[in-house]
Symmetry: C2
Subunit: 436 residues, 2 copies
């Protein structure tokens, strides 16, 4: 039978637009889909949130490297190639050990849920058992997820102890992992596969071709990295004589809802190409500060109609919280506009605000992935987070001058797991504090 | 009688250098000063921390606008002058209401302590009662503090409803607040006064002259803003025909341990001037991203020998945590080095690392202020923080590959009040969890 949850809802139907639904009741059907959202007046709800809590849509992290979880927050004083080869690849290679993988997933998935991340787009490792174990963990802990076994086979771009033995094995292993995922018991339909070539420097042309064919044949969504930094951008120009977007498109990988991580070096023509195909960018502002040699043109991309979600890029971005990423998206956009040295401006009209960053973390991510989430409105799934505000929380509210706009900005900038009281995915409460 | 605390100590005696003292015992004398720090072997300590906790020196926030606490995290999509005139000055003007001021201090001081900030350098408001109430709050809650009643009297740079009526009243009110502070009962000697002209645009030349004379006559330390952004930098050039540093020096305000907030627009000559006088900068990286049109040259400043502490610039920097500021200091330095747009580099050798940022938050701040804090070593005060690490904390530790360097980077990047277990100031535990 339907359940009802009441509270004040804060959400962003459009970039930069905060919608406030004070003291509303959400009715959720047996499938976890929202049937109605109406003012509470007179309606008796199963779960009532008072004025010290607000409801927001669940956060959608569109770029997570799951096996990098143990190194979250470390080694970030290194350039990308050193960080990859000396730290990241050796760590990922350890996921051949299934027990280790399971211990990491059992730490990571609940932690992301506690941070309010109701849906995540995961790069797993090259290991099929570890990948499937991640699917199991998401189903068990109740997180919506897109999960891809990583393809990387290029002998120059990968270490011999962490790569696929051949392009055909890349294709076969990807197909096996997609089929294994699809055959698993997942009553709430939480998990979907992704075709996941790591990035062009790590993949042979044959593997990329195989991934494009597989995407066309299966309809499985694609994720990869795209135009991340000076080195990577230059590498693709030299190897393929074109930008990442053009190259990926030639391989048939730029498709509707393809998730391209970073995109800091996209050209105007690249953006047009991605828009025409329905692909989009996972914007990872904190990671970009470390590895991208540039700030993603968030404002220009949104204005142009490009799909944009928000991503942590764990562990390139040293935080598990999309609230932190929202703040950094705004901060970086402001720096892009203002410049780095006195008297030298950046690019005009680059700044975004908190409601725009939050939109990328909710509606933008849902739109990028083609899922009915990101807003609490009829027809969408009830993926939601309850946040404590006011006395005793991390978000103080000064009654006489904090309106909802100010309170919303505070809660996005200052929330952390300690003021997140409950998290729901597909209508089910998945946090321990107060389970249904 | 002396108390003893044991645990593993992580601290940074030099910028970029992590010192690890595994399982040591700190003996603290009756005045709260460290008498010895020795390996624990055999010594029985009053307070023993096991492997799930570490001890670090308390954090020193060298720039806080106390009356801006209620707006922490809001209105940061505005340029500095709008943010000041439309939001900040109206809020600060409310501190004429002593009861309101007391309610804010009672929220802010314990919150900063919970964030690990054992010492703070405060701008109060122009109101003497609110300023004295802040002194009382710091003594009551046990926070080390430098507190200044704000001077602002310039008819062009301040609103008529929030300014001193005359330069002489600026001087008189400052002197009265210094004397009132010095006459208060403060058994642990926690609070010191500061002479606090807001910044040149808000002060008449006569008021600035008066402040310089007062500093010379009383020996009270000075704090103000310096070279914060394009607008402010240009304003001083036009009004005084020189940079902020030169102008402040002419007024006699650049003295040993003068705290100059921001300094993003300092020239090489400015740095030399400040070094020769023993003054230094409160580096506020998150605030600078919003209001300074440039990144502070942290690496170059440290290399040149300039004193550098870390500051939140509450509420210009939307976080109460110096851990967050450490992360942003590293992030901003990396962006300064890497540039903002593809293919255009920033300034080489600009990046700093986490142990350097942490040094500014501890030893750097203590050195800037001339106080024996910032390190847990004999002769310094026991201002310290205990952090939970590992299982159940925000900082996971993977035993087989997380060494102390990695663990330290994680704990600086990922700590928040939920993994801070105890905070001590002058040898006294000031948090509720486990008071001594």
């Amino acid at each position: 039978m339907p359940t009802t949850v009441s509270g004040t809802i804060l959400q962003t139907p459009e970039p930069g637009i905060l919608q406030v639904l004070e003291d509303h009741v959400v009715t959720i059907d047996d499938e976890g889909v929202i049937a109605s959202v109406v003012p509470r007046a007179g309606v008796v709800a199963d779960r009532i949130h008072d004025t010290n809590e607000v409801l927001i849509p669940g956060l959608i992290d569109t770029h997570v490297h799951a096996p990098q979880w143990p190194q979250l927050g470390t080694a970030l004083d290194l350039p990308l190639d050193q960080w990859l080869n000396d730290h990241t690849f050796p760590l990922e290679a350890r996921f051949s050990d299934l027990a280790f993988a399971e211990s990491v997933w059992a730490s990571m998935v609940p932690s992301l849920l506690r941070n309010g991340t109701t849906a995540a787009v995961y790069f797993a490792s090259i290991h099929e058992p570890a990948t499937i174990a991640l699917v199991e963990a998401c189903i068990e802990f109740g997180q919506r997820a897109f999960i891809g076994r990583v393809v990387m086979d290029h002998p120059d771009g990968t270490p011999e102890w962490y790569r696929d033995p051949s392009p055909s094995e890349s294709v076969d292993a990807t197909l096996r992992s997609v089929e294994a995922l699809r055959s698993m018991s997942d009553p709430l339909h939480l998990v979907q596969p992704m075709i996941t070539p790591r990035f062009i420097p790590a993949c042979s042309d044959a593997a990329m071709e195989g991934m494009g064919e597989l995407a066309a044949a299966t309809g499985v969504l694609v994720q990869t990295h795209c135009s991340e930094g000076d080195w990577e951008h230059g590498y693709v120009l030299e190897r393929h004589g074109c930008t990442d977007s053009e190259s990926l498109d030639r391989f048939g990988l730029v498709r509707p809802h393809t998730v391209l991580a970073h995109g800091t070096h996209l050209t105007g023509a690249d953006r047009k190409l991605l828009i025409s195909k329905g692909a989009g960018v996972a914007h990872c502002p904190l990671s970009n500060s470390y590895f991208s040699n540039a700030v993603f043109r968030a404002r220009a991309s949104l204005d142009s109609g490009l799909r944009v979600g928000l991503g942590s890029d764990i562990a390139g971005g040293p935080s598990a919280s999309l609230f932190v990423q929202c703040q950094q998206a705004v901060t970086s956009s402001r720096m892009l506009e203002d410049g780095l040295v006195p008297g030298v401006s950046g690019i005009k009209h680059s700044r975004i605000d908190i409601p725009t960053a939050f939109w990328t973390a909710t509606v933008g991510g849902a739109d990028l992935l083609g899922i009915p989430a990101g807003l609490l409105e009829p027809g969408r799934v009830f993926d939601a987070v309850t946040l404590r505000i006011g006395e005793g929380s991390t978000v103080d509210v000064w009654d006489d001058f904090d309106d909802w706009d100010r309170t919303f900005e505070k809660l996005v900038r200052r929330s952390n797991p300690s003021n997140i009281s409950n998290v729901w995915v597909q209508g089910k409460c998945v946090t321990n504090q107060d389970p249904t």
